[in-house]
């Protein structure tokens, strides 16, 4: 059951270009990997959806890419500052799979450290645009890492695996072409995270659906799979111009930033 509490920041740590924001857990449950929380600072009118990155004892930790006013405000929080945290929300990854393989790109690796912990450190493949971003790979024990121009799809093993994937949409689309049954964490701008605002609509099986309710993790095994408008490159492409990060489903830290469109410059 999702709860909303005012929580104190324990620490704000630089991880490459990103910030790992650690907050007191309060009475919130960490949920399952891939679920997200709405984080709100007093500085901005709306909260931002962020997938849980780690669940240290008595803490919740979020990996945030400062790409717009909302994420910058979150990254600017100092120990002792308060923020509102609401969650866990949405549908996370199924973790009871036989041959798990975590696949992440850019800031889209955000939910994978927690997934790795919960699932007993399965193999992981992480891709980044820069070596600076790739510093975040240290959050996922034992991960195989590539930096562009190398792509995660180049490293996917031949043997069948159960993929849990979060990253920029072009990456999700590319992975899905190779592994139609992969669990993919998508992202969309989101004002509420609990189905109230209808802002996070994406096209799923030909219909516009609220990603916060239907996702952010969408199982590739659904009848006809995910067909984000434009076939894999969602209509939200503008907002995600920067692909690097990752949109993890609605949650992903970065992009979900409502302002994310501007990420183009980081390309």
């Amino acid at each position: 059951m999702a709860r909303r509490e005012l929580l104190k920041v324990v620490a704000s740590e630089a991880v490459g270009p990103y910030t790992l924001l650690r907050v007191r857990r309060g009475g919130l449950r960490p949920g399952v990997p891939g679920q997200f929380f709405m984080l709100k600072t007093p500085a901005r009118p709306l909260p931002r959806p962020m997938s849980l990155c780690l669940a240290p004892p008595r803490e919740l930790a979020f990996l945030i890419d400062p790409v717009g006013p909302g994420t910058r405000a979150l990254c600017a929080l100092a120990p002792g500052d308060q923020l509102s945290v609401f969650g866990p929300l949405g549908n996370g990854f199924r973790t009871d799979v036989e041959h798990p393989l975590l696949v992440g790109g850019g800031i889209g690796i955000a939910p994978l450290p927690y997934a790795s912990e919960v699932m007993g450190r399965p193999p992981a493949i992480l891709g980044f645009r820069t070596t600076w971003q790739a510093e975040a790979a240290a959050l996922v024990p034992g991960a195989e890492v590539c930096v562009e121009p190398a792509l995660v799809t180049d490293l996917l093993p031949e043997e069948p695996h159960d993929l849990l994937v979060c990253g920029p949409e072009p990456m999700l689309a590319a992975v899905r072409r190779l592994h139609p049954e992969a669990q993919l964490a998508w992202e969309a701008p989101m004002a509420c995270g609990y189905g109230a605002c209808y802002g996070c609509a994406v096209e799923i099986d030909g219909r516009l659906e609220r990603l916060c309710i239907k996702g952010p993790v969408i199982n590739g095994r659904e009848p006809r799979g995910v067909t984000l408008a434009g076939d894999g490159v969602s209509t939200r492409r503008r907002s995600r111009a920067a692909g690097t990060a990752a949109p993890a489903g609605a949650e992903t830290p970065r992009c979900s930033d409502l302002e994310n469109p501007s990420r183009g410059e980081r390309r």
């Binding site: 009118p45 969309a188 701008p189 509420c192 609509a201 516009l208 409502l258 302002e259």
Partner: protein, 298 residues
Amino acid sequence: VILNASGCLDALTAPEVARELDAFVSKTIMLAPREGNPPPRIAETDAGMLNSIGLPGPGIDVFVADHLPVLERLGVPLWVSVGGFSADEYGEICARLDEQVGVAALELNLSCPNVEGAPETAAEIVAACRAVTAKPLYAKLSAAQPDLAAAALAVRAAGADGLSLINTMRGLALDEGSLRPRLGRAPGGYSGAGLRPIALAAVFICYRATGGTMPIVGMGGIESGRHALEFVAAGASAVALGTVLFADPGAPSRVREELAAELAAHGLERLEQARGLAHAESVPTTAPASRPPGCQLP
């Protein structure tokens, strides 16, 4: 006295939030099912947000068959927001809802900035609905009306029982880098804190124009009990929460508690005593004790 603004809460996905309200107002129901506008549909601004949701919904048939039975079990009075592309469509939907005992009131959405409206005037649409239902009819007007007072009087004359004030105002946000519109449909509806003074003025103007004879649901950027009290003082008989629900699903009970504290701080026992206080003749802070009441200016 605390409702939700239509379209800002889905009681099917968040019934626990809806149960905290004094009445739940549905998302606007149209005749046919609608997908809504293409994404991106929302953008944050410095003092609020823009939306271009575009009234997605199941259409009146599915709403009555599937949603209504669930909403009726919420345990709070149900208001249905009604939309259409013509006065006939509004009337048809109202006629359907008139048969539903579980519907307490109808709010006519005459002012969505994201959907092409009906060609008829607000008053003509109200008249078409009045002809087919005895349920309380609230006309939801936009503050963008050139003469809001005249519009309020016109819908009252056409049979509206109450007013819902206000809807979002058209606004635009551009991307930091590309300078292109951030919403799929370019302009959207502006809501949140930035809308509050505009909404407060609309309530004030309509209360004065109608002499306080119509119930008014005030909304637009209300985030606290203090804000709610101001809307009531301006002339609202109830308030609705919109954008604040996105950031704070607990807002209904919080605002209710804060409002009670505000009333007490002003020495008021009941909300009705606060209604229209902004219209009271100005009372000098150091009132001459010698002046008899009869000397006050009209």
